[in-house]
Amino acid sequence: MKNFLSDILLMTAFCLLAQWVNAQEADLNNHLNESLAVFKVSDSGTFAKFFMPNAELIDASGKTFIGRKAIREWHQQMHRNCAPAKEITSEIISKRTRSIRPDLLVMVATTAVKCQNHSATVAYNCLFRRIDSQWYVETCAIVPVEGSAVETIGLNR
């Protein structure tokens, strides 16, 4: 349980992005909705396919996961740690997206997440790449917000 919040922090990106309405990037929004739907269930193999094969994921503990296999295992563990919770909620505090190129988008945001009776606030960035009209995650990095519940539950020890 000690690290379950850390495990779920990345999903905040998908929760946020699923709410991201941008007409010019509707295909990305659709993709993110699909990824969120998969993320909520224990289909880790499908979830990992939303990432590029060599994607990096840095969770809120500073641990790095490289590649779909590692991300799939991270996702599996996250669901185990969050059980028996049925749902993870999130609240957007701030967010900004920008285009580096037509096929590369960066999102930097802050959000509060809750799983079971625990909550935390995190800042993070994600870089997305579009290939053949499909969006994939290239990299995500998460930083716990100092003074948030992340600390009060001991995740920074």
């Binding site: 790095t64 960066v106 930097v108 993070y124 990299t139 100092e146």
Partner: protein, 166 residues
């Protein structure tokens, strides 16, 4: 003490960044460009000259610092650095510091983008006392008009936690 360690982490970020780049198959020309960015950054930092850091960032650069604060835009990052450097001047300096890279991943995202992620371990010595901290850093460098600039910097403190699945 906590802030001093934090300061040193940021101070070393670009130093390790360059070391990481060298470990990957990065072209000689890009290596030279990134090294130039690093050298300029370090020179600015050593002089506590925040204004000199501005030209090393893209206009829309963003940074997430270890406290979780997001700083958006070159001007705001420079302003943040100015405050940070003013704070540094009030802090005790370690007698010496040892830094090593314990993990790294570097690759091209495109010909004009390089992503590097790594975890650095730094030990600061104050007399007979020392303290070790770890930080995972993610940097996206972007080449604009032939010059490599930092576009996105994220610094995640490493927390000691049980291994996954245990």
């Amino acid at each position: 003490m906590k802030n001093s360690v934090l300061n040193c982490f940021i101070f070393c970020a670009f130093a390790l960044f360059t070391q990481n780049i060298q470990a990957q198959t990065i072209s000689a020309a890009d290596q030279a460009g990134i090294t130039a960015c690093y050298n300029a950054f370090m020179a600015a930092f050593e002089k506590l000259d925040a204004a000199a850091i501005g030209p090393l960032l893209t206009e829309n650069a963003e940074q997430i610092i270890p406290t979780g604060e997001i700083v958006r835009g070159r001007a705001n990052i420079v302003a943040s650095m100015e405050g940070y450097m003013a704070f540094l001047k009030t802090q005790p300096k370690p007698d010496r510091m040892e830094t090593k890279n314990v993990a790294q991943q570097n690759r091209y995202l495109s010909t004009d983008l390089i992503l590097t992620t790594y975890t650095e371990e730094s030990t600061l010595y104050f007399g007979d006392k020392s303290r070790t901290e770890k930080m995972t850093t993610s940097v996206i460098m972007r080449k604009i008009n032939g010059k490599w600039l930092a576009d996105l910097i994220t610094l995640t403190p490493v927390m000691a936690m049980p291994e996954m699945g245990k």
